[in-house]
Symmetry: C2
Subunit: 377 residues, 2 copies
């Protein structure tokens, strides 16, 4: 029986393990806490920090292939393990590059893959760069960003005065027609399959990608261009695994790479119901070096996140399940986190319909029913 | 959080729990051994015989609704629990009736639902019945049959001499054009949804339903008739849950009910990939009294069982996974049983294709690759 180690105990790990459980693949998870969505259904788990060298080695020793479901983990130990011959996909080189957004930007520039203009911020050049980029401008932390954290939009002088320190860079504020994404899978033989281009809609309050519509309502040419760019990104990384490539479709019709996630991605949840092979099964196929599955879309689809309701913290209570079940072709995914907090990702709903508009309308209807609050409320 | 108790720790329980894990439903399983496919991923499990009154009560106390994934369980305690107000679906009345195939036959006769001619065997009437039914004739045990066990075809006088005792009946040997089946879901409000009619192909060696082809290659009239009969069966039972209704399509074009299973069924595995709502999600919806999901078929499909290879017993070893993954649109389900034995159900493969013939050919190709043997072989 093949053994897969997964660093991270969250929902991406859980949904991967739900597939592994069908495929005769034994899973061992490194989780920062127990219970957690992934650790509850893994064959084995180890509790420890995702930066703990010894714990990562412990999981590595239990598996044939080691992967991760989150990029904020200890890379140094991955390098050491690779030198000892452990199979780690995506490789430590990929994650190191992706952990530092400025290195990602450098790679894209080097490869001639279009991305928005950017420059490193130093203590001396802030005013000069503000002059150069104009306002608004985007400030990004090189490291540690996640779900909108580490990204700041400086709108006016007041924002500039309060600018954060550390390793950051300015990025041109792009007037977006639409944010789009493509999931790309690649195995170590270099076989590469791409999923349909999707639209990503962000929640203004949280900057979390909130709604995904598949396929994106863009022209065929735009779609082909986006797919080609996504493939080039993953090739440039020499990436093995599954990758969420986020892009801006600008008001000028340009497509710019925003960033790459080296793991299953929120924008690929819809594939569980809407594609022949889900991103999770594909992830396993890619890192285990099996042949990749078909990425054909079976139906237009919409995915909507279920975030913890604002104002509620503590032990999870899901309300409205029965009403949500009344919505046709709507599929619920509750992640099983024990505690909610405002805007925490607690689950998602995917819908299928003959049109994207129909799928979106079902998704909104379903989410209107289902709320995650806390028990003592 | 709603709590579902499941009596039985096998693969049908496992696949149900894989769905429950997405639906914010807590599961507690009664399993005769640990580990077992279902107990490994349930939220809770109790180890004990499926006939153990106290253990069944222990599971019942932990859940809002109690169900089962196998019909060979203690019915008396279910009656007692129902009297105390516990919700049990399908009800004890249904399972009691189904446990005794002669009672099933009586019900069908009473309701005027076509089924093959049958008569109870007593010590005195054997010869008379052999005369009446002719040879070959089918002898069935009233109780305890499963996967072909408890069903005997008496082909000649020698077989008649060796006839088994106990409560049994003779059933007319029907010249079958095809064996077909329909999955029917019904909730306690009486909402009822049916899945497409499928073809069942049996393995001659084991009498286990080996291959299922969806939709069945029969006329529209035959399909409508089969669906109507399946609905009538479940209504006659006043069944709540999901039911596999097995039927004979005779060479004369008649459709006769063979038997009804009060749970997810081998002939419904294909629904995981091929239908909008899998039989497992539907099972949960039905017993929890949620609105039933769409049973629309997304694609023609074939399901093929993976049986333990003949000649191998002991700790499971799956071979050929990598080759099996080369087959397009083929989905593997390994159940996670720890030990194999010849012809034991160890998993299944479902394939999708534009035609039934294409799906069948992919399924045969995939199964040719994948074998379950034992480790020390």
């Amino acid at each position: 029986m093949k053994r897969l180690g997964i660093i991270g105990g969250g929902q991406l790990g859980k949904m991967t393990i739900l597939e592994a459980r069908k495929m005769d693949i034994h899973t061992c998870v490194l989780t920062s806490e127990y219970p957690s969505p992934a650790s509850e259904i893994a064959n084995e788990y180890v509790v420890g920090s995702l930066y703990d060298t010894e714990k990562i080695k412990e999981v590595a020793a239990k598996c044939d292939v080691l992967t991760y479901e989150i990029e904020h983990i200890n890379v140094e130990v991955l390098k050491e393990l690779e030198e000892q011959g452990k199979k780690i996909f995506p490789s430590s080189k990929v994650i190191e590059l992706i952990q530092d957004k400025s290195k990602q930007k450098e790679l894209l520039d080097r490869e001639g893959i279009p991305t928005s203009k950017w420059k490193r911020i130093t203590e001396e050049n802030i005013e000069e760069l503000v002059e150069e980029f104009g306002l608004p401008v985007v400030q990004k932390s090189c490291k540690g960003g996640y779900d909108g954290r580490g990204v700041f939009i400086l709108k006016d002088r007041e924002d500039v005065e309060k600018i954060i320190g550390g390793d950051t860079f300015f990025e041109e504020f792009v007037e977006c027609e639409m944010e789009i994404a493509v999931m790309v899978a690649r195995n170590s033989q270099g076989q590469m399959n791409t999923y349909p281009v999707v639209e990503m809609v962000f929640d203004d309050r949280t900057n979390i990608c909130d709604t995904v519509i598949a396929p994106a309502r863009i022209s065929r040419e735009q779609s082909e261009k986006a797919t080609e760019l996504a493939r080039r990104c993953v090739e440039a990384l020499d990436g093995v695994g599954i990758f969420g490539v986020e892009m801006f479709l600008t008001k000028d019709g340009e497509i710019l790479i925003n960033e790459v996630a080296p793991r299953p991605h929120n924008s690929g949840h819809y594939t569980i119901e809407a594609c022949k092979t889900s991103q999770y099964e594909q992830f396993i196929r890619a890192v285990m070096n099996y042949k990749l599955g078909s990425t054909d879309l079976l139906s237009p689809s919409c995915m909507i996140n279920i975030l913890g309701e604002d104002g509620y913290t503590g032990k999870v209570k899901v309300t409205g399940l029965e009403d949500m079940m009344m919505v046709d072709s709507a599929y619920l995914h509750i992640y099983g986190k024990k505690d909610t907090e405002p805007f925490r990702k607690m689950g998602h709903i995917t819908t299928l319909d003959n049109t994207q508009e129909g799928a979106l309308s079902k998704a909104l209807e379903a989410r209107e029913c289902l709320k995650v609050i806390s028990e003592n409320s």
